[in-house]
Symmetry: D3
Subunit: 200 residues, 6 copies
């Protein structure tokens, strides 16, 4: 499954069941994305390496995805990572739980709460606003057919705007795509995430 255009070393690191392309051969927008990640994080997240097997798809997915993590007044960056983590827990996605678990600990500025949310949002000790968001994200993940207008109302009732309520839904839907891409390719989280934003 490998050829001169695929780096097996990188393949082994990423876990991918699909060939992993040499960074040098990627389109320039993706080389730029990789460079920026290296600059900001110190490494290239494996989701980029693995998804780059289909370069245009990675570009399209990422252009959509990154819109969803832009914070708004009542749905912060931490809230958005929380949704990512709750959906990933419901689906059992290793890659996203480790990578977004780290981001959530960072954004919350609370490594203990962030870890708790990755295992069980019900007992993590969040306030009623966040409970409503978590419950909605989990229901849309596990029992989407049963979502009703009343579920939407629970988000408005804790102070979200219609746009923000939509975002809870769209982030949840997006991680149902992303989790499956991670699981179906066997994507492994970069080891760097494990130590990020831990207590003391």
């Amino acid at each position: 499954m490998t050829s001169s255009t695929h780096s097996t070393d990188t393949g082994r690191e990423t876990g991918s069941w699909f060939p992993v392309r040499d960074e040098a051969n990627l389109p320039s927008d993706l080389r730029g994305l990789f460079a920026k990640a290296r600059e900001r994080l110190g490494f290239v997240p494996n989701v980029f390496r693995v998804y780059a097997f289909r370069p245009q798809r990675l570009s399209a997915w990422f252009a959509h995805y990154r819109q969803l993590h832009q914070p708004s007044e009542r749905l912060s960056a931490a809230d958005r990572e929380m949704i990512a983590v709750v959906v990933s827990a419901a689906n059992g996605c290793l890659y996203c739980l480790v990578a977004h678990g780290a981001a959530l600990r960072e954004e919350l500025g609370d490594p203990i709460l962030g870890e708790r949310l990755s295992y069980d949002w019900r007992r993590a000790g969040v306030d009623s606003r966040r409970r409503a968001i978590c419950a909605y994200a989990e229901k849309l993940t596990l029992r989407p057919r049963e979502i009703t207008r009343a579920d939407l109302q629970t988000l408005l009732d804790v102070g979200l705007t219609l746009e923000e309520a939509w975002d809870v839904a769209e982030i949840s839907a997006m991680y149902n795509l992303t989790n499956r891409m991670a699981m179906v390719t066997n994507m492994l989280p970069n080891p760097e995430y494990s130590g990020q934003a831990r207590p003391g």
Copy 2:
């Protein structure tokens, strides 16, 4: 939930629990998308009207989505609609079953097979290549954590390239996003779909 920028008439038609924006106020790329749809189909699919509540999101989602329906040598346009329909059946998504059910009947040139696939791919009478594709799409939808390298092999064994196997996965993942957006907004299929590509 409505205002001068939201057409309640359109809202009622689409079923949406979110405001539906006036087409006239949408960005030009979306007005172009709507116009093209009207030209090709005779109407604007409700997914466009509903998703346009967040115009940039619709643009980003659609740019990703439409890549996935480009046919390849061994994964035809009909095969790709089949994956959409199998995932939508597993999730129980009304909008996608009606809209992509119509597209599937059309692409297959077989209204009876298309209808059967929308209810039960196991008994629809497809060949072993298509059975492998349907089984993979359904498993990735319902039990993603249990997907293994051996499941990927079943796709390669029926003649798909690695790129096409990836496409089966990515289309399945995409409809797990799309189905949830349709269900969480209460999107209703346009009535026009029901009569398209029926027998006799």
Copy 3:
């Protein structure tokens, strides 16, 4: 599995994993049933051909079954087909969804609503009386142990008599039998159903 008394041609058409008997050799009551069907519908439904492997069983099942589709004042023929379709959707029965889906479109005089009900009664747009009926039929199908006296009350509260409430239950129970006979024999719907009662 075939012999001189089994028509393989018919077997192929019906999909049955059991032998399909020659119509000519069936008891006279069944030959009459087939003739009447041909007269009324233009064809013999495959459920008759397949179930006729055990002729007396078909007679007994049908004598019970047809009682349940007799309309009453507040539970019309369309309502009864709706129950059949909701149960068949919960069980995922191809034969019944296609055959009774056609009957439901016909009885409702609304091909779009009928198709919607076959995919998701929750979003199909029916009134509260029909929602109560659909919810009851689905619960009795999927979680019969959890049915309570309060569930029965929901039917009485929307205006059904005790006899009609019983009918909702008995029709649901009957389709739990019928769906399983269709699935366990691999019964395929006659192609004629697909085009019946479609829009314009």
Copy 4:
């Protein structure tokens, strides 16, 4: 819910959430059925009393049902009760587990095996022929959509004829109807069953 034509005493005994009709007012065929039961068993099974709320339905159901318990060469009366009990255990139906549990102990002539089958056929210690039958009945009850031609073959491989394999399927399907009628009416088993065919 009761009137002069309904005996509340009987209602309390049977558990039924529907009115229980006076035996004296029932059609003669049902009065005959009740009399024969009293003669053979010493009491009238509550399924008759409860189902008699709709007399013609009881007649039709019973005419079908009793055909299925006729023994054949390789599918004995005990085997047929075993299928009833395995399906009833999968559905969790109190009435049928008690009433057919008693019949199974009797037919097997083995009260210990009969009791074990009512709780867990997998550990009950039956031979491979009976294991195949139990596995098929349970799968058709719980995952009917996944039944394949290969499942049918497992029955033929342990020596059943096609007619007997059909009977395993039809008995299983029938108890999916019967269990639901018992649960939806809240039918309680007659106390007499509990002591029947117990050890020493």
Copy 5:
């Protein structure tokens, strides 16, 4: 899997997939336990014989287990057996349903109610205090993550002390251990249980 220290005869009786040790070679505390059981019941329960493959484990488990069956003012010995039976029914544990089913019939002094509880506590006809206890035990067994403080309140509301509410929880948790030990070893119930505390 057997040696001079394992009695195959006993192995066959118990059903165990692990070796069953000779009673003579067990530590004296266990020989005392066996002797006391023989005196009180007339036989040694198979759970003792099977678990004695690891003698110290049996001693430790039993020391914990027997505390939980000590009756308190508002949670009787019968109530405690009822919890054992409800949990065992939710898990489908043959050994515990037969052995504790017998104990429950005995403690209740009502063989019919005891049998009913082993099949379906919802329809068994118990009062609201016992319904609350059964519902709590079943939920903790099947959906432990969803248990809330409000569930605990339902126990206090029917008159249990905090200590007794804890006991409902701890007995339920214990049978989730015990059921699994019985199922994973293939433990069979002693035949003597089947006839105990039956009607008439």
Copy 6:
């Protein structure tokens, strides 16, 4: 729910829905246990504080529990923590995932592998011996009724003795008890665990 014998401060820290007893009033064996924990870990695990509401139960449970973590030749301390974590993940138990997640990272001497196992053992990258152990523990947790003699054989085939195979089963069964006690009391993990045995 609190009184002079209950420290509400401790209650708040532990999350418990039950009163938390003053350490000073506990029996001497438990005071010794708490002291030893403080010495070894620097703090008293909340499981001790919460379970001490019923002091004798804690003593009995712990006497059983600690036997199960004694390493043997082919089932190390790390292997035993792995089983604890896999079962806790299947049940979704926050307390055990955090507390035993820390112990697992420590015992493995591999913080990255330990974290991965807490989210998805299938993709964590363990060898076939550990995969067999994890698969067995998960199956016994989620589908205990379906465990067969062949499942036991998979453990023997990767080199475990019968005693060690038993231990995999008994540890799994024990965490099905322990997880439920943690969830039903709302036990929160001590914050100290989160930073233990993390990378660099």
